[in-house]
Amino acid sequence: MPASRELSVRGTPIHLMQDGTGPALLFLHGAGGAGRWLPFQERLAGDFSVYFPSHPGHGGSPAAEWIEHISDLAFHYLDLLDELGLARVHLVGASFGGWIAAEIATMASHRLASLVLIDPVGIRVDGWIYPFLFGMDIPEIVGTVFHNPMAALALAPPDQSIDTLALQYRQGAALARVAWNPYLYDPLLRRRLARIASPTLLCWGAHDRLAPLAPCGEAWAKAIPGARLQVFDDAGHVPHLEEADAVADAVAEFCRLQGAKR
């Protein structure tokens, strides 16, 4: 079981989970993933000291009114590294968390021992418009995000209480504040990806319908210098849930390799 704690990052209160020993690894979750310590994180905690914060407004972290733009979240996490006294980390981000991770990497690659992006969103890709999840009901969202719908159970809400529904609404609002329009991307990010100097692994679900391998995964692979693209055949948009062990092993191996090189 990971340890849970509340801390203040430059005045912004957040909830943070932590477990494992070894080199520091910061995991940034996607929409709906806050506070979900699942087999993926558990496996990584065997090799790394895994830090898993909830974005402000998500999970146990209260909403932060000052966050208006995706770069606010990127700066927030650079502040978190300072707060935790971590000079360099392995940075792993999934989906929306991958977007934040990519923004961080364009700003401060020197703080990253490696960068892993799992089906990230965040860039505008020619020939692709991300399906509008905000306009979908739950079955439509599950059908879009998951190749294996059973994997969605890991993110199912515990109940339908007012508190749970209010939390979901708060998470949706926190996401919408930075991602409603332009939807799921920062128009400036793609051009900036060339600045990323950290070794980068892209993990991609072969059946991602939100951000498909072609053209999205291919666009990322092309835009980040030297990035390696690894495809997971039985996964959709969330391979770390759908093929948790395989993705965790790939991430661990990549990070170990980069750690050893430096």
């Binding site: 905000f134 306009g135 529904l165 609404y169 708060r170 609002a173 919408a176 409603w180 329009n181």
Partner: protein, 381 residues
């Protein structure tokens, strides 16, 4: 009591799609039919003035069959030149949905000047679904609304040019020509669903509050909150600050009226307001406090509303002239609403005109103690 004829200008149709908003394909819209409808609806407005209605209400809605007036100011402009006496209430312009609120300030001023000062300017946030239609970020809705309203009122009342530097709207030169005719500016009304934040905001500014399609118990509750908010702000609410929008069907007998109401009023709720659930609740459109209040006491979805419930809870008024008079007494005497906005639909244009005439002749005169009062004097500013 004052009477305002209200129109959604619906494109009445039956369909099996999950939503009448946002995604209902516009291939269903036949412009030739639309041509007939627009002209019939405008005829109804003009007839309402002839029959003695005090005001005519238009409103803004996007991408649906419920109301085909994406630009209410365009419809108001047509009425300005075809009417001479009635107030023309634009209920309202969806302020946050506009990229440039100064266009609202300009258009309302144009209408006010051309009409000789007959314009009432409603300010609304726009229905939840309209954040899907326009792309405007719903988490900015409330702040954009307040900021746009402030800018528009300043543009109407302060000598230009002046600079405005807001979070969403920034101008070096605010200096609209024309200025409105009414002083200090056209009355502002706030049609709303009763969020406590809006009640407080409107009461503070003496902006009349308009409840739309709400059960009578909730109207009573929100009116109470509004009156209290007015007291807190140091004045007593005029009854002309309390407006209610409720569909009325009056016919020769209760049975005939019921038949029309079951079909035509219920179309508005069951089909016109049928919405794919996510469109009801875009993220951040309401505060978490409002959401919790809603969840604690969830209102019935309009598409699930039955005629019996609508009747029981006072979503509508129907009956013979005598029955309608009795039901209306509750709004006039118990709720102390000063203005009734109502649409009428008899199924055909001709039948609608008959209902309007019946209402004007058999109901309205019984509520005219205030015939000589200007209901917009001193309120909404």
């Amino acid at each position: 009591m004052k009477f305002y004829y209200f129109h959604l200008m619906p494109y009445i149709m039956d369909h099996d799609e999950p939503s009448s908003w946002v995604t209902l394909s516009n291939r269903h819209y036949d412009p030739a039919v639309g041509h007939t409808l627009y002209n019939q609806y405008l005829d109804q407005f003009e007839y309402a003035e002839k029959l003695g209605w005090d005001g005519l209400c238009v409103n803004e809605h996007h991408q649906n069959c419920y109301g085909t007036m994406p630009s209410p100011n365009v419809m108001a402009a047509m009425l300005v030149r075809r009417t001479t006496r009635a107030k023309i209430a634009v209920l309202g312009n969806g302020l946050p949905l506009r990229e440039n609120p100064l266009r609202v300030a300009e258009e309302i001023a144009m209408l006010d000047v051309a009409s000789g000062g007959r314009i009432i300017s409603g300010f609304v946030r726009g229905i939840s679904a309209e954040y899907f239609s326009t792309g405007v970020n719903p988490t900015h809705s409330r702040e954009r609304f307040y900021e746009a309203a402030e800018l528009i009122v300043r543009a109407w009342t302060e000598e230009g040019p002046f600079p405005f530097d807001g979070r969403f709207y920034r101008f070096h030169y605010v200096n609209p020509w024309p200025r409105p005719l009414q002083k200090p500016h056209p009355p502002v009304w706030c049609p709303s669903q009763g969020s406590s934040e809006t009640v407080e905001w409107a009461a503070k500014r003496r902006f009349p509050y308009l409840m739309v399609f709400t059960p009578i118990k909730r109207i009573a509750q929100i009116y109470g909150e509004y009156r209290e908010a007015c007291e807190r702000n140091g004045y007593r609410a005029s009854r002309y600050q309390l407006t209610v929008n409720v569909p009325v069907v009056v016919a020769e007998s209760d049975a005939k009226a019921r038949e029309l109401a079951e079909k035509h009023v219920m179309w508005v709720f069951n089909t016109g307001l049928r919405m794919h659930p996510p469109f009801w609740r875009p993220p951040g459109y309401i505060t978490e406090a409002s959401l919790r209040r809603l969840l604690a006491n969830p209102p019935v979805l309009p598409s699930d509303l039955t005629f019996e419930q609508a009747d029981r809870e006072g979503y509508l008024i129907y009956g013979s002239p005598a029955t309608v008079r009795d039901k209306l007494r509750v709004f006039a005497d118990e709720l102390q609403a000063g203005i009734l906005c109502t649409a009428m639909n008899g199924g055909t244009h001709e039948r609608t005109l008959e209902l309007m005439q019946l209402f004007a002749e058999e109901v309205m005169p019984h509520f005219r103690e205030d015939a000589k009062v200007d209901e917009t004097a001193g309120v909404g500013r």
